[in-house]
Symmetry: C2
Subunit: 188 residues, 2 copies
DNA sequence: TACAGATTAGGACAAATGTCCTAATCTGTA
DNA sequence: TACAGATTAGGACATTTGTCCTAATCTGTA
């Protein structure tokens, strides 16, 4: 079964929005990628904003899918948090070039005061809630959300600086620090 | 002595680029703010990119000026780092609305692959270098830059999340954590 | 085969953008 | 006052943008 045009549009837009930003990506860019006529978008979407909506949905699904996979793959909540942190290492070359796909989208939509900025926030919220659940599972019931937010904040900061300074080595060092912090936070 | 038109353009652009982002800000927006004709920008600047250049210069100057003021105002390097961290509290309402002016600019310019992205990186670098000098002054000569990058990363992450979740209270909590971390890092 | 509905191509459209040009006005100096 | 240079207003310009329309083509079904 082939990919539908609609799916191709969403997936190309997903990548272009990440690489170039939402506003800086035009229909012409997506059309070039998918190799369809520009005027024909409107058979699949009512507007550019609606494409963004679908892209965020796609990212939400993929995120949940990945986190679900981790849930069955690792039995230990602590190790699952470690998997989350390891994501920074796995994606280090992309982070260097484009930053974090979630964080940069949220930042851009906040400045545009875009209708979908809240929806993009849910994407970040998915990771937040999942991390909090892992911390609860690891025995930190009372401050699980705060710990989750700390991991999230640290990850976002690492992404911004790796992008700004075009530095992958920094990611590795900072991840080591975060892992050390995690051991201490869960130790007591 | 009145502000020159050129200065007014730069200062309005500075604010608009922060609030709306660089690309999403047009000449029409700046012209509205400064109350001049649109066509008359080109007597002061050759292009929009040149306005951005001047805005970054302005931000560089202001950053250096602020850090210099701290240098004379506080004799203790540790207290100067605390002042840096306290900036997050002072600017919390703006951070919630627009994120960090430095971080969001660097992220945007990276996606645009803009000629000035390196220059914007220098802005971040100014804080990095200053923080590193403070850590050296506080007796952490061997890993001063790593500590500086850690403070910077944490600050950036806090800004991204405060913006994403529209949450000021989170800033206060995370700043407290960072101050605690600072005490420990300098204690040994 | 015939035909209805889905899909597509291609282009029209107004609005907005960055850029540039020219004529008017202001300002300081001789 | 007279005049040169700086500053400004206003609009022209080509390009790009998101949006929309229409005619052609494809696809599955009767």
């Amino acid at each position: 079964m082939e990919k539908t045009t609609r799916t191709q549009i969403i997936e190309s837009a997903d990548e272009l929005f990440y690489h170039r930003g939402f506003e800086h990506t035009s229909f012409a860019h997506i059309a070039d990628e998918v190799k369809i006529s520009r005027g024909n978008f409107y058979h699949h979407f009512k507007s550019k904003d609606e494409i963004l909506e679908s892209v965020i949905e796609l990212r939400l699904e993929r995120a949940k899918q990945m986190l679900d996979a981790w849930q069955t793959q690792e039995t230990n909540p602590t190790d699952r948090i470690r998997l989350f942190i390891q994501m920074l290492i796995m994606n280090k070359s992309k982070l260097k070039l484009y930053g974090c796909p979630v964080g940069t989208l949220c930042s851009e939509l906040a400045k545009l005061d875009h209708v979908s900025k809240k929806q993009a926030g849910k994407l970040m919220g998915t990771y937040r809630d999942w991390l909090a659940r892992q911390f609860i599972g690891a025995g930190c019931k009372k401050n699980a959300d705060e710990l989750a937010m700390h991991v999230l904040a640290h990850s976002q900061g690492i992404a911004v600086l790796a992008n700004t300074f075009q530095d992958e080595a920094f990611i590795k060092h900072e991840v080591r620090q975060m892992e050390k912090w995690l051991d201490e936070a869960l130790g007591k």
